[in-house]
Amino acid sequence: MNYTFHWYQAFRALPEMLVGALVTIEVAVLSMVIGIAAGILLALGRNSKNKLLYGVSTAWVEGARNTPALFQIYMAYFGLGSLGIFVDSFPALLIGISFNNAGYLAETFRGGLRAVPPTQMRAARSLGMSAPKAFRLVVLPQLFRTVFHPLMNQMVWAILMTSLGVVVGVNIDLTGVTQELNVRTFRTFEYFAMAAVIYYVITKLVTLSARAAASRLFRY
């Protein structure tokens, strides 16, 4: 083995990598917010009778679920560019991940909506609640409980997907920063090993705090 590890040099870059980790979390959270909003709309679109709404929603959902996330990000960056829509690397990553999130979450929400028995809605209405109120107070909490676990999974995937940004030139998230360090010094193993540990810690924190939140929220 003729490789000497330069761990000391690698540890000096830790602050820089942690800043990158913050950007990673930001992108993931933002993409989830957009993804949830779009996902709900898509779920409703797929349940609607309107041919156009159904067509567009289905195209989005099936496109997002049957092509690689990396392809979607690449398409957002270079594909849109040739249509004259100039998208920078960071927005392209965000668009790509959000597009992907929305597609998968739409199916999650659809399944969740199906899981709440229609009798609940009818009972609430018969008690005198208006439709939006019934939806908000009766259906939504039950829906939330059903989709919580898949939502948490999608959040973890969103965090892992941000690493793909480096392929379209994002150099401010954790993987982007790691690659920059790698390209200058070629200490690939040391930097990427550190990045792996940081990603593990982030995902574990997300999973554990989600589980803690779930045990508080869904106590009954």
Binding site: M1, N2, T67, L70, F71, G79, V156, L160, Y199
Partner: protein
């Protein structure tokens, strides 16, 4: 350059060759991953906590670190220890472990979906432990797991695009090569997306239909 596209039969064949590499990596990864996942999943559903927790923790690492990072790490590590494996082999190995991690959860869920009462009834009828597993647990667990396993296989096929980062010329990378030469990103990427879609969608629909059919049968 407005007299028609440079994208011809040759480019399409090149992309199909890339798709072949994608499918090949998917095949080996799913094969290895499913076999390992079966073993890990069975072990995890019957083992005591002092085996279960460490094994579970280790498998969890594969799901908590981005695949891109895993590929780079393993690729870099194998050259550090002087192992002479091609990037293709590294891709298959990393994806296989990744698959096995998800597959072990699927197997575990499948085994646990078989009601304990059924299994005890089988044993009380005189079946041995292994007969119970083979004749009773296996068919039920298989039916429960098949839709998830199909989803996992398709997921691996899509994730295989990442191996372009360590130098494997699969479908997406082939598309990049063609774009570099003929500079028609939208067209080439659309064809690329179409190929992925055509591979993935039919299987995904089949999985959904099986799942719906079996759900209605219960």
């Amino acid at each position: 350059m407005m007299d028609g596209s440079d994208f011809g039969l040759q480019e399409l064949l090149l992309m199909l060759k890339g798709a072949g590499v994608t499918l090949s990596i998917t095949f080996w990864a799913v094969l290895g991953g499913t076999l390992m996942g079966l073993v890990f999943g069975l072990v995890r559903s019957v083992a005591p906590w002092w085996i279960n927790w460490p094994l579970g923790g280790l498998l969890d690492v594969f799901r908590s670190v981005p695949l891109l990072i895993q590929l780079v790490l393993v690729n870099s590590f194998k050259s550090i220890i002087g192992l002479n494996a091609s990037a293709f082999v590294v891709s298959c190995v990393v994806l296989a472990f990744y698959t096995s991690s998800y597959c072990s959860e699927i197997v575990r869920a499948g085994v646990q979906a078989v009601p304990q009462t059924t299994r005890r009834a089988a044993r009380s009828l005189g079946l041995t432990y292994w007969q119970d597993l083979r004749e009773i647990v296996f068919p039920i667990a298989l039916r429960v797991s098949l839709p998830s396993w199909t989803g996992l296989t398709l997921g691996v096929m899509k994730d295989s695009a990442l191996v372009l980062w360590i130098g494997v010329i699969e479908l997406l990378r082939t598309s990049q090569v063609i774009i570099t030469r003929i500079q028609e990103p939208l067209l080439v990427l659309s064809v690329c997306g179409l190929i992925y879609f055509v591979i993935s969608y039919p299987i995904s629909r089949l999985g959904t239909r099986l799942e719906a059919r079996w759900r209605d049968l219960d």
